[in-house]
Homo-oligomer: 402 residues x 2
């Protein structure tokens, strides 16, 4: 994906190397919206929130309708579990950006990712911000995507047009993301920044973003649900020239595009999940509600026994049944169906593994293995994506010591 | 522990090789209580219950006060996900025992563990039961413990006296157990059989057993919470000659002994957890309730990131904080304390890892690493035991294919 494809009218981006990361890789990313932009954010529900997350949440609470002028992100330090110094450092980051870009500090969102429990090296960040500002350009997306990386193998960018039902484009959505994964003592976080040139109100962006996150980042399972710093931001510059008469149609088109971009970025994250060899797309059907289906799908996707079988390309339907039955969601053995890679292995009390094993083993060699489980007679359904668990995961997480 | 130490008056045990296990190891265990015994059982809450579990549950519902005469256990086949044939096979097992030992089939508890989704080979079991009966002896405990094993590295037996407050013994409790762990397509299960010669009513045994299980088997974390076949049984023969005037004192003494035996067996299970190198004893304090503390302790013990750090002996307090904050239980950063191996690494917003790291690394080399986490100002506390996650776990679970 080329940088010009990613450009969004009204958005400048840049990055710099401030020396926060021990690796010496770029570690400051800066978005600038010179004419302002409406925005929304979804932040972690973790009990220990990074000071950066609290800064963003406070802006959202106190002045949700005030346009923002910038977003600054540092990698290499999470500014989490940093006591009273944390909020001061987050505010100082916003202030440094406001001074550099000549705006108010309350027009600047802040994110951090990296080591936890270590004070933010503010002097490095203060030097890095003007450097990042000096590199601002309409096509700096890839640089920003690289600067927010921690344990990711590669940077993650994606863009799509915002299309009305008749197929006509009325704008674009571009996004960058970084994945979830921890290497001691770095605590990596899920971060995502999405920009569109469509015009939208903050309240519209709230709905669009929450729906998109629920159907993308909240449906992937690497090794945990959330971290102290998780943040997804959506900003709208309103620079698109396209006129749409029907407000509702525009918002629907935006929602569709944002969700699709989030899903692509989420899949990049799960595929990049700490040493992942392959991923599973787990669909649970026949539940009494979509929520029940999601609970069961998550339990399967989180099961170490399922994840090691996925790594070993072992079509072990027993482990799927085991994980599926562990929750409080009612599961009827006489309705239970388990399909692996499109191959039926268990159907309503009947074990079909013997005759279908070779075919299922073949199907499990795919990069993405579809798993389908029917648990009852209801209409509730949900899909989650999960990475596998293999030697590389253990190597990354056990052998890298503090 | 010698077989004579384990003997319980009124209990005979034996085992046989029926050819259910592919390995050719013993796979039928039989307990006989010639004069009957009162009993209680705690069974899995899994949504897919083995037919054997359903047989036991049905006896407990329909005739809880009727003494039992025998318990039969087969390993190598779980009789779970076996459709309509499952309950018939479980009943046929009970009947085969009742015919061999000349009692009623409703006086026989049944357990199964092993492969799921495969019909129970009844002809083999029918041949094995008389063979096991032929080997019945007061000192057959070790043979029984070996016959119920599936993926366990070693058999698990333990015994303790039932002691009053003044230290006088009024009886004994002996138990055998097998651990939780899955090797495709074998689905291993947690099974435990406890016998005492103390006299106790079924209702007393219910309370004693539920409390003991809550503080032992329900506090260990290998790789999942429960399986289709998990069963813990406590039987009391009443053969002890000791007279105790105070009923309440006797029940308290029994509860103490049963809980201690269960805790020892539970620790043997977690230590034997699929390739475990070391285990963690995780204590969470300062919660608003014991339940809240247990939720947080479980989240830490289940976290693959914590478990790999444990394997790597990495005193990574960040991963502990991360897991602890993932639940809905309120966690106050300003009260948060994290101690690893007795070494304080994080205290109320202050990261002490730098100065204490070497000491903590040393402490993590222990077989059992104590982890203490304070999350707030409350009085709720709980302890769980968790195994680590390393290469051996992946090898066992990914490379063994169906």
């Amino acid at each position: 994906m080329s940088d010009t494809e990613l450009t969004i009218d009204g958005v400048l981006c840049g990055a710099a190397t401030a020396g926060i990361k021990a690796s010496g890789n770029p570690d400051i990313a800066l978005f600038h919206f010179p004419d302002g932009a409406s925005w929304s954010a979804v932040t972690t529900r973790h009990q220990l929130k990074s000071a950066a997350v609290r800064w963003t949440e406070q802006l959202k609470r106190s002045s949700p309708r005030r346009p923002i002028k910038a977003i600054v992100v540092n990698s290499g330090n999470a500014n989490a579990c940093t006591g009273d110094d944390g909020p001061k450092a987050a505010k100082a980051m916003a202030r440094a950006v406001s001074q550099t870009l000549d705006c108010d500090e309350h027009e600047v969102l802040v994110s951090s990712t990296g080591v936890i429990g270590v004070p933010l090296p503010l002097h490095k960040i203060r030097a890095g911000i003007p450097a990042a500002a000096g590199s601002l350009t309409a096509s700096g997306w890839d640089d920003c995507a690289a600067a927010i990386m921690t344990t990711d193998d590669g940077s993650k960018v994606f863009t799509l047009p915002v299309q009305l039902a008749d197929g006509s484009a009325v704008g674009k959505v571009s996004g960058i993301a970084k994945g979830a994964g921890m290497i001691a003592p770095n605590m990596a976080t899920m971060l995502c920044y999405l920009c569109t040139d469509v015009e939208a109100l903050p309240s519209e962006l709230d709905d669009v973003l929450q729906t998109a996150v629920n159907h993308s980042f909240n449906r992937i399972i690497v090794d945990g649900d959330q971290s102290t710093n998780d943040t997804v931001v959506l900003v709208a510059t309103g620079k698109s020239q396209a006129k749409v008469l029907e407000r509702e149609e525009l918002v629907q088109a935006l929602e569709k595009a944002v969700q699709a971009v989030c899903q692509e970025l989420a899949l990049m994250i799960v595929r990049d999940g700490e040493g992942a060899r392959r991923i599973a797309r787990i669909t649970v059907e026949g539940a009494l509600s979509d929520t029940d289906a999601e609970i069961v799908a998550r339990e399967i996707g989180s099961s170490p026994l399922f994840k090691t079988a996925l790594y070993g390309a072992d079509p072990n339907w027993g482990r799927i049944a085991m994980a599926a039955g562990k929750t409080n969601v009612v599961l009827l053995e006489e309705m239970l169906e388990i399909e692996v890679g499109g191959v039926m292995l268990f159907r309503r009390g009947e074990n079909l593994a013997a005759e279908n094993l070779a075919e299922a083993e073949q199907a499990m060699q795919q990069d993405t293995v579809p798993i389908r489980v029917r648990i009852g007679k209801g209409n509730g359904a949900a899909t989650v994506w999960a990475s596998d668990l293999g030697y590389e995961y253990v190597r990354l997480n056990a052998e890298y010591t503090t």
